[in-house]
Symmetry: D2
Amino acid sequence: VMRDKGRASARRPEAGSSLRRLLRELEAVPHSREKAARLFEWLLAPISSQQFFDHHWEKKPLLIRRCNPVYYQGLFSTAEFDAILRDRQVQFGVNLDVTSYEDGKRETHNPLGRALPSVVWDFYRNGCSLRMLNPQAFSATVWHFLSLLQERFGSMVGANTYLTPSGTQGFAPHYDDIEAFVIQLEGKKHWRVYSPRKEAEVLPRFSSTNFLQSEIGEPILETILEAGDLLYFPRGFIHQGDCLPEAHSLHITVSSFQRNCWGDLLEKLLPAALQMAIEEDVEYRQGLPIDYLDYTGVLNADAIDPRRDAFMRKLHTLITQLVNYAPVDAAVDEKAKGFFHDCLPPVLTETEKALSVYGLPARWENGDVQDVDVPFNAKTQVRLVRYGIVRLCNEGDKILLYYTTENSRVYHKEEPKYCEIEPEYTDSIEFLLSSYPNFVASYLNKDCI
Amino acid sequence: VMRDKGRASARRPEAGSSLRRLLRELEAVPHSREKAARLFEWLLAPISSQQFFDHHWEKKPLLIRRCNPVYYQGLFSTAEFDAILRDRQVQFGVNLDVTSYEDGKRETHNPLGRALPSVVWDFYRNGCSLRMLNPQAFSATVWHFLSLLQERFGSMVGANTYLTPSGTQGFAPHYDDIEAFVIQLEGKKHWRVYSPRKEAEVLPRFSSTNFLQSEIGEPILETILEAGDLLYFPRGFIHQGDCLPEAHSLHITVSSFQRNCWGDLLEKLLPAALQMAIEEDVEYRQGLPIDYLDYTGVLNADAIDPRRDAFMRKLHTLITQLVNYAPVDAAVDEKAKGFFHDCLPPVLTETEKALSVYGLPARWENGDVQDVDVPFNAKTQVRLVRYGIVRLCNEGDKILLYYTTENSRVYHKEEPKYCEIEPEYTDSIEFLLSSYPNFVASYLNKDCI
Amino acid sequence: VMRDKGRASARRPEAGSSLRRLLRELEAVPHSREKAARLFEWLLAPISSQQFFDHHWEKKPLLIRRCNPVYYQGLFSTAEFDAILRDRQVQFGVNLDVTSYEDGKRETHNPLGRALPSVVWDFYRNGCSLRMLNPQAFSATVWHFLSLLQERFGSMVGANTYLTPSGTQGFAPHYDDIEAFVIQLEGKKHWRVYSPRKEAEVLPRFSSTNFLQSEIGEPILETILEAGDLLYFPRGFIHQGDCLPEAHSLHITVSSFQRNCWGDLLEKLLPAALQMAIEEDVEYRQGLPIDYLDYTGVLNADAIDPRRDAFMRKLHTLITQLVNYAPVDAAVDEKAKGFFHDCLPPVLTETEKALSVYGLPARWENGDVQDVDVPFNAKTQVRLVRYGIVRLCNEGDKILLYYTTENSRVYHKEEPKYCEIEPEYTDSIEFLLSSYPNFVASYLNKDCI
Amino acid sequence: VMRDKGRASARRPEAGSSLRRLLRELEAVPHSREKAARLFEWLLAPISSQQFFDHHWEKKPLLIRRCNPVYYQGLFSTAEFDAILRDRQVQFGVNLDVTSYEDGKRETHNPLGRALPSVVWDFYRNGCSLRMLNPQAFSATVWHFLSLLQERFGSMVGANTYLTPSGTQGFAPHYDDIEAFVIQLEGKKHWRVYSPRKEAEVLPRFSSTNFLQSEIGEPILETILEAGDLLYFPRGFIHQGDCLPEAHSLHITVSSFQRNCWGDLLEKLLPAALQMAIEEDVEYRQGLPIDYLDYTGVLNADAIDPRRDAFMRKLHTLITQLVNYAPVDAAVDEKAKGFFHDCLPPVLTETEKALSVYGLPARWENGDVQDVDVPFNAKTQVRLVRYGIVRLCNEGDKILLYYTTENSRVYHKEEPKYCEIEPEYTDSIEFLLSSYPNFVASYLNKDCI
């Protein structure tokens, strides 16, 4: 009986916890952007987000030491993890990785099939680390937490949890391709963080392989993270964490800004810019010089030839002029579509559900349907349930409204969701967006929201 | 508050209902095959299953009229359906079809995306029928019910539910490729059943298209089914049901024996028999007569030629001799593998869970793992949790143990589940099977069950 | 100049050669089946084809020793091979394999790209064997020879040529999946032939891998083949040939009856027979016994159970009755379609060309088209240019006329060729076929021939 | 007999013709680039190529009227076309299109299969035009002609021939995506050429659909082209040609510069430039502003926001700086690889063949291989057989030598041909290229050339 109680309580923040209090306060905050900002400030307190973005974001690690082991309590716990294993279909390799790093050797020990508690805990007892890959699919609080934060970053926010037995290390030193917020939830962990090894590994677009200890130099930061502490480091910073003999460790790493740099936008923008330039400017359609192969190519890289100079000048001009044809807004929207597909759906309060399409009174009762008519008229006050859940984008001649509300908590389990908007309704959508968080008394295409 | 209560109670059989009582009784029945038999007897009572299989199964319709509207109560209800729409991710087209049949025209009206109650009930109010395609994925009782029945039939048991507004019909007359048990749960429905139109449509392997009223002749059975009644008809019997003006209808159709005829087994058996004959008997590897094309082929179908006669005789001999090479048991096992993949996982009682791998005491408690050691020794008494959940099959040189316990309630969502068994353990498995339902004190490869 | 002359003359049989004389005589033989028979008699002389088919075909090797080195002269020669390398796009790996077998090790040495004489001869000088894979695509005589023979066998006739330097061996011992006629053209070769090692390798459907000398036992035939000799052995007979120190060897292996046994026909016939039985006989559509999984399957293979006996009897009956539903003629036609696709196109004489669609007088001359009207009227005498070049087959409701005349000399380079025949013309086609080789004065659908 | 003679003579330029004389003279020209230049001058005479490139190329049509009907004689003729139909496997739809344009309706009449003379000429007599799609695969002179010209343009040179009956038109007005040289070979044709209709259709990258007469305005050039005349027009110029009642027409259209404009090079260059910039410059890897979605996207296209201005400025800078990372020479080589794959193989003279790998003396003679040793030593004088047949390109770390000599006369029938060159041999290759057309006495990797 005790055990069951323990599990149940593990699933939502403690009545008195800081996070529980915060989430309740946020319910009263009208604007979802403001909710996100307040949550992020709480995450970093006492560092302000201004300070953080000015001095640390994409620049250097930040260690926040709180001496308050319950600060992050309620976000996630090993007890919740145990309950999830028991009640949900957690699959090895899909939702959970069993790993070890010993004597410089990193191994993965995933069996096939469902991760039952008895098997998982047996691995743990034998010194393996347990990485849960998408706790937001199983934990309502983690889902809530990440879905709010994604509005702060304008980029997908993900998470893994890591449970490590005392006296062991689960992963080899490496760097990742995301901005990492390591939130210590239970126990302690010894961390070492190292600078990027060279210019080309500063803010890298892809994660590294596992490194040897001999490849990474000396740490620039070494610390023991305790429950309630936070450690941030930018992508490219090599890191490794191991448990002390006296305590296990549970942390959750919140991540963002994967593939979200200027180069990623340019990958969408440049091909479109070139196609537009070719269509609109005959200079791009003119033939190459018939003799160009004679003074170009790697064999001619060092050739001194006025024809080569002219050829290069021409190319430079054409590249520079691309700026005039670059469809920046369309490229941004392409990127936004990806982000909207990546987004977690919003977590609605009971009140919000009741006032949304999920709360319509239509139902089966007393042997018949009741209250099927939608209680919605020209005077009904409406607003978006969150700010960052819809985006109008062009696609060819059409206007599409992308939305996140029917996304799945499982990454990309659902296709991108959108509906076509007749041009005459775009003003309504814009009005709705610009009026947010205020309610407005106007007609709205109810199918989409 | 009332509403919530109503919904919750809808989800499990009423305390006093016949089904609830039965399912509780079945918990005490030791053999799962016996559970299945008792459930099936209850379904058909007062007709015995002996009577049913002798006179109706695959032969002719059976109507059981009970004048007891609560007989099937608790199996499924519109209130449960409403609760499912509210709480679960029901998708139009995947889990739910919206249909109509008016003026001889059959239409499907599925929108895209999630089937929210307000939208579904709006369709219903406008005269559409609602077919839920796999209620066992959403309703624990339907799952329980079907998972027991599948042991009775040795063939996949499925179900659809049909909710029809008063005064309407949702489907055109047609026949199906399954044995159908129409269980009337609420309201009434007017049914007409017609004999197969010709020999070739008796026990057909594939469902028909929709028929015109003019194509189907006169019904051999016409009745008004009321709650508590059951109507069975074999595959190939054309049928149509429509609601009277005074009452809606909810029924669940339980189905089995899709693609489970002798021909289906022969489709697996014959190619294997031929390969074996070719391998083992040189007669099958001897060359065709060099002149055979001269007296065979459609152009020579009527030719009178002694060489043709000899050719035909030879083929007849070779076909007849296939019997000697037919690997019947291997072909049956191939078919069994398909059935095991189709099967619903068993529904375990709390006691069963507690005594199985799902109930092992390993857990996280007080900041550490507890009781990880499996309380299992040479004296531990074990048995299969159900009879029909494992099957040993050969595959090449290997012995594979197929099992249903990790299947999904969603059809084929999981891959077929099996593990390889070392030859020295097959006796243990056989012993375990033959001892069922008794417990035995022998070692068993615990990973598989 | 001399060299050129040498090459040119190599390309067609010598004026005085036996083959040259034969081919000229065959031109006067009216029936193509008779041409094929006469060619085959010549190939085997002094053994009659009756003797051959009675005693050797698919039974045991036949060695014909002629002491007449020019008997097969003109069929192919190393000089012609040299000319082909020079003039045609022969590709390593596609048309030519360079191989060696030394110290028990079989290797292939194909470079990429075109096989130029200088490279090929360099390999040869270094002891490599040269296998040309489809000489019929390059040599008009080989094409002519094989295209005639294919009417004798009613099965595809193919060929490879093998040129081996003195004192070497090019291939490891192995058996093939075809009836092989080794025709020694130049030099000598030491051959050893071995019986199939076991019943299962008698008339095998697939070729073997390379064998070790220790795996094949003692030869049943050992001989030195000299130019003008022939060695036949059935599929499944292991063989190896090596050159004596004093002479190189060139032979061509003519092959037939690959995948042309009763089992191959049954592979087409049985699935069709089963589908037909299921459609026409309800016994095949009746459900399996609901308990059949209890007494069948490998685990029950030794079970003694009257239900099992009944189950087996039922299956035996159903298999035996398949005979009544077997669409033999349709299956033969399916097989015939494959053969017609495999066939080489016929080699037409100049006279035949002139009298066929290839010889119509339509042409460009003096600045305009001339004689475009087809000189064809109701009195025009027509016949098929060969007997075995067309076949009428059903396909669903259609009647298709398959023909070989537009096939390529390169295996399957063209799709199967056929045209649809209106039912009212099938009698004409049959009349044409049955009148062959006589000319008839009837209208004929000229597009097809 | 006469006819045969006619055909044979049709296949090569008349002894006295201008082209025949020219090609013979070109044999003596040492440098292939010079051969190409001289051939092109002859094609355009009396217009110089300087004049042509200054005033017409990609700018406006050029009509050269010669009053010399035999000027182009020997390049191609209807008699040669007739001979090709007779002797070669010309396939409808693959090598030959049968078309008509009547009453504004453009139709294609291709049957399936081989294009036999009698069928082709029947279409022609009924007013259809005949377009041969790759005459270079069938005509040695066209092959020779195009293979020389491709060195003039540094871009693939292709050709179609068009035979049109008197009084008909075969094609609707349209524009193409290539520079077109219409060479009138026989008869006359009435041509109308129209300016591009708008800026976007000047030098288009893709051909147009067929136009209605009402869509194309008035011709800027209208003329009757007679044998010996030439008409050039740039891509994008709409054109149509029809035959006068009194004469048929045969012309060959030589084409070049398909997909060979600056934009085509930029399509290869820009993605590579961006990847390089991202790798080398951290500015491209820095994260986007976290709020960028708020002031960008089509919905914000007109927003006035300083953050938007900064965002745009940043993008402009990044695009402009791409110039610094653009791997122009590698991109040119990528383009060159495509050109080398497109190229026709060179036509070698007998002397050239004799001195190349094709003329090595290795052969089969007198029952054995002769002269296999390559007569090649350190003093052997070598040179490239043409200038534009090899190109050294980098690919990753490797140096590849691409070559055209083993290409097929059929477009892309062979894969791109190249061999890897060890770094120490690149100097030899460069030396060989720079010494051309002089012979040099150095070692050369003979496998490649």
